[in-house]
């Protein structure tokens, strides 16, 4: 690398005596082409790597709305929390009760919703405002609810959600910095599957 630069300088010194302006522009063009090539190759490395990392490893997202108060957006208002969504740990669709997960909305495929998992497949759930009082979560589904009951569009309105819609698991609150924390699974009090209410209460 270093020898290449020296030889280029030698060439320039030699040619400078001939016609300085043209040599200067030629050198500039050479350098510009090198920068362009470096930029393009870097672009083709950086974009796929970034996209893949966002798809497979982790994703950063802003939480909007009041459905997860008081855990996210406790003050309400315009400032939104930013969370880190762990996508690597849900690659096999493994979640546990109490996890906060982001799910592609069954109502609107372009929207993602962030809720807490209350019940997994086979659990019996006492619903809050669903059409049936008690529901058995079918295979390959889970029951998700927002922490802010009544202000949340969740399984109480559209029923159990297919696990295939799972997008990520919220693992950290990144912003605001004074509430930076790791999110550990915890079920809200008096919510959860009916038989296993005594276990996993404090995660």
């Amino acid at each position: 690398m270093s020898t290449g630069i020296i030889s280029a300088d030698d060439d320039a010194d030699f040619l400078l005596s001939l016609s300085p302006a043209s040599v200067h522009s030629a050198l500039q063009m050479k350098a510009g082409r090198r920068y362009l090539r470096a930029f393009i190759s870097g672009f083709f490395v950086a974009v796929p790597v970034t996209v893949t990392a966002l798809d497979r490893l982790a994703y950063v997202a802003r939480v909007e709305g009041a459905s997860m108060q008081p855990f996210f957006n406790p003050e309400g208002g315009s400032d939104c929390d930013v969370v880190l969504l762990d996508r690597w740990s849900v690659r096999n669709y493994q979640v546990q009760r109490g996890d906060i997960v982001s799910v592609l909305s069954p109502k609107n495929p372009k929207q993602k919703i962030i809720k807490r998992v209350i019940g997994l497949e086979g659990d019996f759930i006492r619903t809050l405002s669903y059409k049936n009082r008690y529901v058995r979560v079918p295979d390959g589904h889970f029951w998700i609810e927002g922490d802010h009951h009544g202000h949340s569009l969740d399984s109480n309105s559209f029923g159990p959600v297919s696990v295939g819609l799972l997008h990520g698991r919220a693992s950290h609150i990144i912003w605001p910095p004074n509430r930076w924390q790791r999110i550990s699974p915890s079920l809200p009090p008096h919510r959860g599957p009916l038989e296993t209410e005594e276990e996993e209460e404090d995660g």
């Binding site: 083709f44 490395v45 974009v47 796929p48 790597v49 996209v51 893949t52 990392a53 798809d55 497979r56 096999n92 669709y93 592609l104 909305s105 069954p106 109502k107 609107n108 495929p109 372009k110 079918p138 295979d139 390959g140 589904h141 297919s162 696990v163 295939g164 819609l165 799972l166």
Partner: protein, 181 residues
């Protein structure tokens, strides 16, 4: 081990390390490019099972493109690959019979009284072409649009049937828009 190292072996070690790092870097780069291609352009799928029988038979290889799913351009009559709502590791290949808001006839053709249902918002109604041997939305109801992975646009194997896929042999798809209120 460390004592035995001298200058040429250190040089060799450095070269081997550099080669390994370069190899790992290229692997990551091409892996990421492959991921992006499979995720956003399309993928090859081997179909199995009888549910799409006249159109796609067992062990056919099809190409499914992902772009129209990301752009929400799935239309009635398209054949799609979707995640099974009851097992996310399994994929199903069905034909879209109704989009959100469409009216679907759920009763058998021989029934005297016709039963209808409306596809809810954000959902699609999937049916196999082989109506007698297919478990689809007629048994488990509409599925969310977001479970769709891609639209089958090309059949690659066997070679004598290479090309685009034919229209639905069943007369289940209502093209007219008189029920879109």
């Amino acid at each position: 081990m460390v004592k035995a190292l001298n200058a040429p072996s250190v040089e060799m070690f450095r070269r081997a390390l550099g080669k390994t790092l370069g190899f790992v870097g290229y692997t990551i780069q091409y892996g990421c490019i492959a991921h992006c291609a499979f995720e956003y352009i399309g993928e090859f799928v081997v179909c199995s099972g009888p549910s799409m029988e006249p159109t796609i038979v067992n062990h056919d290889i099809v190409f499914s493109e992902r772009m129209s799913r990301h752009l929400c351009k799935i239309e009635k009559g398209d054949i799609v690959i979707a995640k099974s709502p009851f097992d996310p590791h399994m994929n199903i290949c069905k034909r879209v019979v109704g989009l959100e808001g469409d009216k679907i006839c759920t009763s058998a053709p021989s029934d005297l009284f016709k039963a209808h249902t409306y596809v809810p918002k954000g959902h699609v109604w999937l049916e196999g072409d082989n109506l007698t041997n297919s478990s689809d939305s007629r048994s488990y109801g509409p599925i969310p649009y977001a479970l769709i992975r891609g639209r089958v646009c090309l059949k690659l194997w066997p070679p004598h049937s290479f090309g685009t896929l034919s229209e639905s042999p069943t007369k289940r798809i209502v093209k007219n828009q008189n029920n879109s209120d």
